[in-house]
Amino acid sequence: MRRVARPSPGLFVAAAGAALLVLLPLAYTVAEAVQVEAAEAEELLWRPLVGVLLVNTLGLVLATTAIAAILGTACAWLVERTHLPGRRAWAVLAAVPLAIPPFITSFGWVSLSAGLQDFAGALLVVTCAYYPLVYLPVAAALRGMDPALEESGRSLGLGPWRCFFRVVLPQLRPALLGGMLLVALNVLVEFGAFTLLRFRTFTTELYAEYRTGFDGPGASLLAVVLLVLCLAFLFAEQRVRGQARYARIGRGTRRRATPLPLGWARLPVLAGLSALVVATLGVPLGMILFWLTQHSAAATSPVAVSGARLFDAAFASIWLGLAGAAVTVVLALPLGFLVVRHEGKLIVVLERMAYLAQGVPGIVVALALISMTIGTPLYQGAALLIAAYAMLFLPLALVSVRAALAQAQIGLEESGRSLGLGWAAVAWRVLLPLAGPGLGAAAALVFVSIVTELTVTLLLAPIGTKTLATQVWADTSTLAFAAAAPYAALMAGLSLVSTWLLARRFGASGLFAG
């Protein structure tokens, strides 16, 4: 693609503004933490609790990542490389859990058995929720891999297992590592699933700090520890992503590798996959359906769920989702355009800065924004919540916006200009029709993420605004599972339908590239 050397100052300022905006909470939190006096900081950081949190959080991150790696890779290999009956259905079922918010998975399991409120329970829930983050890239890598390599291995006498470990696995390394790091990052910033499970991690403890002291110095110090962990994983992920791919050299047509017969393993494999689907989809969705049918006084919340309340919550979720998606995509546009059409060190820095926001957990964003705006007109307003969404999801939108803008060839734009159109007309009549579907996908992805977002919504929702997510949370935390069920059902439904529509139009692998 041709690039224009110098961006207009307006474009540059808009892009830089967006990049700086998303880093505002990070900068503010660090600045707050630095101001804490050394003695107090030492007392707050070297208390035994921080050790417990480190063990809990890192233990869970490591265990989840390892299990997700094995599960995801095994699923991907079975789907892509064997004579698995119902292959295409399994391929979909393995990816769908990603469309169910983890705290809904948590709701399902915790309402099934309160015995899950410990490390094992937390491990089960987040593994169920996040293993597709490994499955999707590994399956895509397996599809893209040149089967000739494996065939050479086999013809040189390697058995299927040795062939997998010596030929296939080394080629999967970038996809697998990238997926694992995404799992780790997501577990680190997860909040809702763990509060419902009453498992203490850095995010839940930050919330506890907030509850016992609003915005004291303890919260900002804990937040910095969490930030350091998140950014470490994010940098690792970026490095892995940047590594050279193991591309095929030949240009011939793609063909699928010759699938292996499963033989005697057929039934055990089918049973294993079925168990996985029951755990990841059956339990969360099944428990929602179960609680929807429990109307007896013993199980429902004291306040009946009325149609009006359900409508209000759904309306708030959708309204915030649409507004947040629009603002986020608009913010991502100048940055995406700058990156696609221009080059330069500063531009690379700006893009990296925007992606850095992926390493800032929602709870940190929310706490920083509360402290920053208290006493200003922005405080407790819907605009602040929408800004928070934009800060959280700009990196997500940027991936799709970039891809969409890259599809619009610069030549067509130049033709428009040379035929006498102004820049606005070119944007409206040339750029938007070309990049539109991709921008729509970006907006839809952000919309789904906002509708299923809990942490920031909980802390920043304007007074009186209740969304589907905050209602599920309020009812579940008082053990009123039946009252939470209709909200959970609506939210899971919204997320599943939007994701399905998106995937049908753009393909699953493209969707989850970010």
Binding site: P433, L434, S477
Partner: protein, 345 residues
């Protein structure tokens, strides 16, 4: 991405869709305050507050928007917001947060008629907040793990080595802080700190009282320190037949039987003083207190004179709380500090 197939359709609708989406963001922010709307900052249980507010609006036509949170969080929030606080009323589970705001001079006098509805010892001495409901601290226990006869005589015994691993607490729940204050008041700070350190070694830590009572009920821990409210709530949710836990009332004026007062106040900065006072009067009015006592929502003792509590609760006169006044309990600020020193939060 396969954009080609969809391009013609996008050209006709898509751009206008995108424009409409942008338009949505220009809609005025929803949920802004109107003149006849009260803003209630609540640390009481959301379901209960929701139904109270609904009734209040039906009776008076005054709308109420609710901001819910944990008691110390909201108290500190109001203190931070200061004179610009949007809150008209603060309704909370425990008295220390009200005392804190009163010390900072943020509360307005409660109408004399409202104060008169409740025995004076359950409201602020200076009349700046009114007691609405009371709840008792109790010990939930699982009879399959510990016999009733082996239960401790005092809350302080739970720090002894024989309770290692067998007790559950929720130190970051707002209901735990008054207990810490009470122990410090009765035994002195060093003793209270030693007690907390003992608990740190012994206790399984939960986020909130709901978690504690659920943990005791499912048998993962023998006893748990809670307010009676949570056990009654669990009993209603799962049904008496499926319940595996019971509650033990500390006796003889032990600190473990401390009574927490749930109260309400009008903020000095409120621009809707008259309406806010109406809400306070409503909270302690006979029909509302009767309703709170009867329903399956609250399980707290109504404080208005002559209202009988829920029969599921031990009669209020039979409780044997420690000899502490609301003023003795203070404002929670030291309690949080001590919890941190002991390594509990």
């Amino acid at each position: 991405m396969q954009a080609h197939g969809s391009r013609p359709r996008f050209r006709s609708y898509g751009r206008f869709g995108l424009a409409a989406l942008l338009g949505v963001t220009l809609l005025p922010a929803i949920g802004r305050a109107h003149a006849d709307t009260l803003t209630l900052y609540s640390a009481q249980h959301e379901q209960m507050v929701d139904s109270l507010v609904e009734t209040f609006t039906k009776q008076t036509g005054i709308k109420v928007r609710v901001h819910a949170g944990e008691a110390p969080e909201i108290a500190n929030q109001i203190a931070k917001e200061g004179a610009s606080s949007p809150a008209d009323i603060y309704f909370t589970e425990n008295s220390p947060e009200l005392t804190l705001l009163d010390e900072k001079g943020l509360l307005a006098k409660v109408d004399a008629a409202t104060l008169a509805a409740v025995p004076a010892k359950y409201s602020a001495a200076d009349g700046n907040w009114v007691g609405v409901l009371a709840r008792e601290n109790v010990l939930a226990f699982n009879p399959s793990l510990v016999k009733e006869a082996q239960l401790p005589a005092s809350l302080l015994d739970l720090a002894k080595p024989e309770w290692k691993g067998r007790v559950a607490i929720a130190p970051s729940d707002a209901d735990f802080l008054p207990l810490v204050n009470a122990v410090a008041m009765l035994r002195g700070k060093p003793a209270a700190l030693a007690w907390l350190k003992g608990l740190r070694d012994n206790a399984q830590i939960f986020d909130d009282d709901e978690g504690v009572v659920a943990g005791v009920d499912r048998g993962s821990v023998a006893v748990g320190v809670i307010n009676n409210y949570y056990w009654a709530r669990l009993r209603t949710e799962v049904g008496a037949a499926k319940l595996h836990s019971q509650i033990h009332h500390f006796a003889g004026g032990d600190v473990g039987a401390l009574i927490n007062i749930s109260g309400a106040a009008v903020l000095k900065s409120s621009k809707n003083q008259a309406e806010a006072q109406k809400f306070l009067a409503f909270l302690v009015s006979r029909p509302v207190q009767d309703e709170l006592a009867k329903g399956d929502v609250s399980f707290e003792y109504p404080l208005a004179s002559g209202v009988a509590p829920n029969p599921l609760l031990k009669p209020f006169e039979q409780l044997q709380p420690p000899a502490l006044s609301m003023q003795d309990l203070g404002d929670d600020q030291d309690a949080a500090k001590m919890l941190r020193q002991a390594g509990l939060i």
